[in-house]
Subunit: 222 residues, 2 copies
């Protein structure tokens, strides 16, 4: 409901495929390739070549018939398209195992994400350092977010605490939330929320398993 006026109608599936392109392209770049065709990309990623071509067209790239796309240029265009060519600061709430995993992942800076601090309510955790980031008391989040102009909030707290954390983030002027808690979040319209709902993926996996399970087991191995 109400797509942004600024969004030039990029399909969400297209956006979700972009990182896979980027990964493959970086590999090819490391191998010393200069150019790449949609045909090649499609083969490697087991996708439809036309789909790849349409996806890439959204970045504004222009290719050469019989050659394909310039690799360096394509990578730059995709990174710019996603806004991964400049960093946004982020606060992470919930310094448990999942939070630590995200804090410890070094790949995010290449994805435009710079987690600058973590927050928790646990006095045992507050004051400690996790992968060179300070763990601060949760109640300080709104004030600090506002003062540091932090754009992104990452929620890795238990489901029961998620809405409260989201409220604090919104209060601090954060307007993009990446939510890992299995909970619905109610936020103002202008705040972007993307959910990482593990249970959604698990539902697909479970259902396929329940459907295919018997078939697979009944096939003799030797």
């Amino acid at each position: 409901m109400g797509k942004s006026i600024e969004d030039h109608g990029v399909p969400k599936p297209t956006l979700r495929r972009m990182p896979a392109y980027l990964r493959l392209l970086s590999q090819l770049q490391r191998l010393g390739d200069q150019a790449v065709s949609c045909t090649r990309i499609a083969e490697e990623l087991k996708q439809d070549p036309t789909q790849v071509r349409k996806d890439l067209a959204f970045t504004g790239i222009t290719g050469k018939p019989r050659v394909g796309y310039d690799l360096d240029e394509l990578i730059a265009k995709i990174e710019h398209f996603l806004g991964w060519d400049n960093l946004s600061d982020a606060f992470l709430a919930g310094a448990g195992n999942l939070g630590r995993a995200l804090l410890g992942y070094s790949g995010f800076t290449a994805h435009g994400l710079n987690i600058v601090a973590a927050f928790d309510t646990d006095p045992q955790k507050v004051g400690s350092q996790v992968y060179n980031r300070e763990v601060l008391p949760l109640e300080k989040l709104p004030d600090l977010a506002r003062r540091m102009h932090v754009a992104i909030g990452i929620i890795t707290v238990p489901a029961a605490a998620a809405q409260n954390v989201a409220d604090l983030m919104v209060a601090g002027g954060i307007y993009a939330i990446w939510n890992f808690a299995p909970a619905q979040l109610n936020v103002p319209e202008n705040v972007i929320v993307e959910h990482e709902h593990l249970s959604a993926t698990l539902a697909v996996l479970s259902r396929k398993l329940a459907q295919n399970g018997l078939k697979n087991i009944s096939v003799p191995v030797g």
Copy 2:
């Protein structure tokens, strides 16, 4: 390409919405409600009522006009539909922070998932216990998987190691893989793979941010 013969055409988006229904329904159950209407569900989850009705119809439930669906029955039907009413054993490879987060999450048993052991190559980790699960050497995975008839493999290793781990899982007869590594996996056709690609979600978030960012910042707060 080649949808399973056994899959009675359930749309993937429908499957992905099921866990959210289940969460809401359990909440209502705890509040003591006996029945629930699609209208109600749609309102709570901010969805279209017709869509909810269609989704629920896949579970085989029948409702009563003016009343809705019996809450207990609906929960049972969804759980059965997803195969969450009986447990599947799973092996987890990669006992880092993310692996630990999954091992420590107690909600999976309610989602049909029983992680019985973890595997790692790090001698420091091997032999230890993580949330009551033994951490075993990775090379033992195939043999153990086969002997224990483990159906599901969870990959939480770095991207560079993911394909090798997938190969070991397939060698052990595992036929459903839940992949958290930012890597493509090549597996035989009959093996189910579902990816938890954080970068895909991040791409959507980043793009929206890049598009809406200026607009949001320019709106005065007071």
